[in-house]
Each structure stands twice: as structure tokens, then as C-alpha cells.
């Protein structure tokens, strides 16, 4: 599974992109977030309030209950500020 971070989340995570292999019971975005928080205190802090974070699964916006699995691309980022 590929995980991407953008903007200040990328700075917090220290990387823009990483390959992760969570255990089989991680089947949703929400479970993935909890698993990532357990691996990295900086991410635990960044993910403290998930209302501030947007999620995309395979480049479409997704909620915390969205399914994720091997081969998926999951991105975390703050609300967008383009235009």
C-alpha cells in the first residue's frame, strides 16, 4: 500500500511518500490512521484531529470508513488552498 502526505502533513511525516504493509486487520482508512499513529509519534500528533485532514483513496476523496487494501494509494492532506 502506498501512503502519500502533502503540505504541512508532509513536513510532519518527514516524507512525501512511503510504502507500508499494515497487518491484515487494517481494512479501512480509519484503521490505517490508527496503525500509522502507532508507528510514528509525529504522525500521531498530525492525526490528532482528523477533522483537519482530508483523505483520498486512489485519487478520489474518501471517508474514514472507506476500504483500503494492498495496491491502494492512500493520501492524507490538509484542506486544499489552490486557485
Amino acid at each position: 500500500m502506498k501512503v502519500l502526505y502533502f503540505a504541512w502533513l508532509r513536513t510532519k511525516a518527514g516524507v512525501g511518500e512511503e510504502e507500508v504493509a499494515p497487518p491484515a486487520e487494517v481494512t479501512t482508512v480509519g484503521a490505517l490512521v490508527e496503525w500509522l499513529k502507532g508507528r510514528d509519534p509525529a504522525l500521531a500528533e498530525a492525526f490528532a484531529d482528523m477533522r483537519l485532514i482530508r483523505v483520498a483513496v486512489n485519487q478520489d476523496y474518501a471517508g474514514l470508513d472507506h476500504c483500503v487494501g494492498t495496491g491502494d494509494e492512500v493520501a492524507f492532506f490538509p484542506p486544499v488552498t489552490g486557485g
Binding site: L4, A7, A56, P79, V80, T81, G82
Partner: protein
């Protein structure tokens, strides 16, 4: 048409070429977004960098464009959005719509900009005399975009 690019674009040339030669077009609405040289609190901005999510950006912009064409009878649409480092005064974004009627041109152009502001995965970091700062999303942008959900 969707273009996501680091290079500058020629807004005048884009307008001149847009929907040109299509006799069904009665109105073209165009919005051009530029880098302002100050922030909301008055701090001077010398430059900004636009980060984006390659792949998702194009996918979201294409979806927004398709939705606009579903809602209004459009003859043509164009979205150009830049990324990378931009100086004060630089062009950031251009959105243009062409229709037989001015209402459709105005409304769809506004719709595209409102959605782009809230859905297209771009993030601005401003380079100011007080240091670098990630721009925060505006509540107003969310509510502007939410208006279109009623339609």
C-alpha cells in the same frame, strides 16, 4: 481542456484562441487568478509555492469540468492551473467557459472556480519577510462551493 503545469501561460493568447471560430458561442467568461503581493493581514508576500498531487489533480479537474458540462450547455471549457514557485504578480489559474448564453458562461465559470478552490489538491505556502507559512483553507471557500450542491 485541462492543463496542470509549472510553466507560465499567456492569458491573452489563451483568450484569443478559446472557442474561436465556433458560431454558436454568444458569451465567453474567463477568470484569471494572480499572486497578490500581500496577505489578508497586510504582510508582504514576495513569492509562494504551489504544491499539488500529480494524478489526483488532473482527475479532480476533469471531474469538475465534466460536472460543469452536465449542468450547463457549454460549447467549450478550459482550466489551466500552475504549480511550483510563483512570484507576486504571477498568473496562477485560468478558467474559461463558452456558451450560447451569458448566464451559462458566468455561472459555470464561477462554479469551476468555487469547486477548484475546495476540491483540486493544491496547497500554497507563502514566502514572506516573516518566514514561510502554509496558507489555511478559508471557511468562505467551503460555503461558496456548498451553494452549488443545492442546484
Amino acid at each position: 481542456m485541462i492543463r496542470v503545469q509549472a510553466e507560465d501561460f499567456d492569458a491573452g493568447a489563451e483568450l484569443a484562441a478559446f472557442a474561436s471560430g465556433n458560431g454558436r458561442v454568444g458569451g465567453v467568461c474567463m477568470f484569471l487568478g494572480l499572486v497578490r503581493d500581500y496577505m489578508g493581514d497586510g504582510t508582504e508576500v514576495s513569492a509562494m509555492t504551489l504544491e499539488h498531487y500529480p494524478g489526483m489533480t488532473e482527475k479532480q479537474l476533469a471531474a469538475i469540468e465534466t460536472e460543469a458540462r452536465r449542468r450547463w450547455p457549454l460549447e467549450d471549457t478550459l482550466i489551466i492551473h500552475r504549480h511550483g514557485r510563483l512570484a507576486a504578480g504571477d498568473r496562477i489559474v485560468l478558467v474559461a467557459t463558452a456558451s450560447a448564453h451569458r448566464d451559462a458562461a458566468f455561472e459555470s465559470c464561477r462554479f469551476l472556480m468555487d469547486w477548484l478552490k475546495t476540491k483540486a489538491p493544491f496547497w500554497k505556502i507563502e514566502h514572506t519577510s516573516a518566514g514561510d507559512r502554509w496558507v489555511e483553507a478559508k471557511e468562505a471557500d467551503e460555503s461558496q462551493a456548498a451553494r452549488w450542491n443545492k442546484a
